[in-house]
Amino acid sequence: MDWQAVDGSFRDPSGFVYIRNSTLYRQVNQPFKASFDAFMASGLYDELASAGLLVSHREAPADAAATADACAVLEPERIPFVSYPYEWSFGQLRDAALLTLELQERALKRGFTLRDASAYNIQFRGGRPVFIDTLSFEPRDEGAPWIAYRQFCEHFLVPLLLMSRRDIRCGTLLRSHLEGVPLELGSRLLPRSTWLNPNVLFHVHLHAKAQARYADVALNRPNGRRRVMKRDALLALVGGLRRCIRSLDWSPGGTEWADYVDDNSYSEAAGRSKREIVARALAPLGAGTVWDLGANTGEFSRIARKASSQVVAFDIDPAAVERNYRRVRVEGDTGLLPLVLDLANPSPAQGWAHTERLSLEQRGPADAVLALALVHHLAIGRNLPLERIASFLSRLGRALVTEFVPKDDVQVRRLLRNRADVFPGYSAEGFEEAFGRHFRIHAVHHVAESGRTVYQMTSCHAFA
């Protein structure tokens, strides 16, 4: 077998995604031929792809098929970095939800429907969400309801409501509930006041009650007559969901890190010196992809962006990531992707057989990793030994630009102010020794008017 299936795509029997000779393909299986042909002939694909709402593809030759039951093979445009809903900020999940509803509305107007509404069908490209599952569209049976309505509510509406009305950290529920946050759980966790909101009452609370009430009920009528849902009613349902999601907001302010850029310990000269050092360190690397770990609102990600085509800016703080995402949308930077990530507990491989969703490490390596003002948080704030930090970072990227912040720095003093200093090895010498085991250190730069040091290194890890 000279192809490898992409494991996030095996649940839908209409087709699957695979890689052959480093090229990404999507196979359309024979049973879905009529639906796929109708979709392509309807003009809906052209409409959505030209509007940038659906990933475009070109038809591949038949001999690129992976199995004998292929009726068509597509070569879709590749997404530079695959991210998951549990890594998105509030605004990213909200934009992904609105995109799904727009697709369903446009599909309905052309006599089609989305047969699933998974948040995993969306990726971010060029700072905006794009739908990646071409096989999600099928002709709508006249009078049929929206099969994916519950899935939409559990993948988008419930998490967004919980993040907006309860606590932004409820977004992490998506990591433990890969098939969406159950309606019943959402209904129980939401504040009582949401029962007074007609949209939330209908789409979440009554929806959860109806699920429980009709769990064991078959909906076929004894007289064989079919219940009918008109297209206008479906469009009204989609419109109601859209109004509900548009009304949700979350203000990313007041967290320690979202304000870090405006309220840090650098003097103006130190900040300028560090920016120049980082720009000089990244420029000769010619990196295609840079992962900026602990990116905050993306100040250094934007410097990295000048030296690379794609920067993924990770931060633990949802407020900082939200601010970064809003800035990306305003600036229209097509090569910067902000994501929420706790590096001390990074996204694992999960889903069926640990293969459906890739870990952070499996999505690498990056050409270069930027880890500025980060190591002291991991070493002192999270009690991670320097050697383990170095080992993990060496597996994430081929080159590393990182910073050592000494114990007498105000930020480290802040971390130690209420606790015993149990970190005797946390010193420049200890840092160089630990990182020297996993990297070759090329250059050391001292940041002006600061005790901080920026290191340029190359990983010793043997990447596949």
Binding site: R11, D12, P13, S14, R115, D116, P145, W146, I147, A148, Y149, R150, Q151, F202, L206, H207, K209, A210, Q211, A212, R213, Y214, A215, V217, A218, L219, R227, V228, M229, K230, D232, A233, L234, A236, L237
Partner: protein
């Protein structure tokens, strides 16, 4: 259909469709009634029975 829509979700959509149909019907009746009573006023055309 490869995902389970669940019966409760379908029932709720049919309820929504029913409510929307009723609202649309009331709206049509109201427009018809308004049109009828307007036609009784002097200076208006004869009521045709259409809203």
């Amino acid at each position: 259909m490869y995902i389970d829509p669940t019966a409760g979700s379908l029932v709720l959509q049919f309820v929504a469709a029913g409510v929307l149909s009723l609202l649309a019907m009331f709206s049509r009746v109201r427009e018809g009634a308004k049109s009828f009573f307007k036609s009784l006023l002097p200076g208006h055309h004869r009521w045709t029975g259409k809203p």
